[in-house]
Every structure is written in C-alpha cells, then in structure tokens.
C-alpha cells in the first residue's frame, strides 16, 4: 500500500463529495493498482449501486492519482488532469455499497500533454467495467 485515505489528497485535486479513489496499492513502471471502497456516501450511488459515470470517474481519478504519485517522486506538484476523451467503455456490472473496487491503470506515453490511459475495474477478480481515455494536463 502506497497511499490511503487523507494521503490521497496529496495526489489528486478532487475533494469530497466527489473523491472516487481511496487507495493506491502499487505503482510500478506504466502500471498502477488503485482502490475504492463503495460507501453509502458515494456521490454516484443510485438504488444502492454506483452509476456508470461514477466508474468512469473512478478510473479517471485513479489515473490522476498515478500521475500525482509520479510527479511527487519527481519532486513536482501533482498536475490537474482533465478527461479529453472516453473510448471503448464497457459496463459489465455496477458495484454495490460495501464492495471493494480494485483497478489496474496502464499509462501510455505522453504526447503534447495528452496521455492515453487504460483502466479495468474489478471486484473480487470480477471485471465490472473497462475503458480507455485520453487525459490532458495543465
């Protein structure tokens, strides 16, 4: 475990009520593993399940946390990243309150401030959602 709870705030600019990552398990090379425990206070909760845009936001903030970690390691400030494009998103199942999401982020190379990111969200090894996205940083 690299970061948990409050320490996540050193990596990403999002704050309550819309923080959608609460753990960074590992970050090595181009791959990071992040986590989120779904609570009853989750911003995207609908009928006890995390709505689909919440899963996309979780992936985006996971990538942002990975970028923030890299910046810290390099002695720089965490960048603010915006989603530029979402591509090939697939939803398989929406997670319920109490589920622990574990997400693998694969970061591509940065070209002109735009980074291609892949994310896969799992709960107990079951794939819940996946997407590609382009993130641009300012």
């Amino acid at each position: 475990m690299l970061y948990e709870g409050e320490a996540i705030k050193t990596l990403i600019p999002q704050r309550d009520p819309i923080m959608m990552v609460d753990k960074v398990w590992s970050a090595e090379g181009d791959t990071a593993v992040t986590g989120l425990t779904v609570t009853d206070r989750n911003y995207f909760l609908e009928d006890g399940l995390v709505a689909e845009p919440g899963l996309i936001e979780h992936i985006a903030q996971s990538a942002s946390a990975f970028a923030g970690h890299r910046a810290r390691v390099a002695g720089q400030e965490a960048p603010i990243g915006y989603i530029g494009e979402v591509k090939k998103f697939r939803l398989y199942r929406r997670p319920a309150v109490g589920e622990e999401l574990r997400t693998v982020i694969t970061m591509g190379t940065e070209v002109n401030g735009i980074t291609l990111v892949r994310g896969e969200v799992r709960s107990n090894d079951e794939l819940l959602a996946e997407t590609q996205m382009k993130i641009f940083c300012e």
Binding site: Q14, R15, P17, I18, A51, P53, V86, K87, F89, T131
Partner: protein, 124 residues
C-alpha cells in the same frame, strides 16, 4: 435520476420525433459536485455531462437506461456553470431491441463541449 434538478435543470425541450430531441438545460452552479471539483475552481465534471446525456436519453425514450458502452466521447471544451450556464443537449436515440444507439452533442451558441456515441440498454 441522479443529476436532474441537482447538476442541471431542463428549461425546455424541442422534440422532433421519437428518436430526436434537443434539451435546453441550465447548469446549476450550486450543485455540491463543485465543492470538490475543484475547491475554489468549479469545473463541470465530464462524467456528469455524460450522465446528463444519459438522463436526457431517458427523458426522450421514457425508459430507465444503463450506459452499457461508450464507443467514443470527446470532451472538446471545459464546461463550467460560469462559462456555459445555458446548454443545448441534442440527443438521437435509435432503438436496437434491447436498448438504443445514442449520439449526442452538448453545445451552446459559441462552441461544443461534448460529442458522444454510445449504447444505452434497458435497465431491468
């Protein structure tokens, strides 16, 4: 609906036919998402705009829908309730049997903010 009357409000709707409509919406600056996205610098979360498209598609079709797939969704400009308080959400929803192929555009008179192509299925 998760964000209707919280993140956005529908002020009027031009329905062309069962598959095409334009929703005239206001972005609500007092939505609590701006407390965290970002503190002191309100920017409309892109995923909230995606949810707004989904909810407009639900209003158009009268069905409870799930975002099953996004083929491509381009966020072409940063939207904020200050920069673009009034937006048009143009939605096309073509029935496929178990759902709809949806294309949508979020824009104002000046520019476009989101171009969306995806699949929404019936939530059952």
């Amino acid at each position: 609906m998760l964000l209707k009357d919280k993140f956005f409000r529908v002020e009027g709707t031009d329905v062309q036919d069962a598959a095409h409509a334009v929703f005239h919406v206001t972005l609500l600056a007092d939505c609590d998402c701006y407390r965290g996205h970002f503190p002191g610098k309100p920017v409309s979360p892109g995923v909230c705009n995606i949810e707004m498209i989904k909810e407009c598609a639900e209003l158009l079709t009268g069905k409870d829908l799930l975002l099953a797939a996004v083929k491509q969704c381009r966020l072409t400009a940063v939207a904020t309730p200050a920069v673009c308080p009034q937006l048009d959400v143009t939605v096309t929803a073509e029935g496929t049997g178990d759902g709809y192929t949806v294309t949508a555009l979020i824009a104002d008179s000046g520019k476009s903010y989101m171009e969306f192509k995806g699949t929404l299925i019936l939530n059952q």
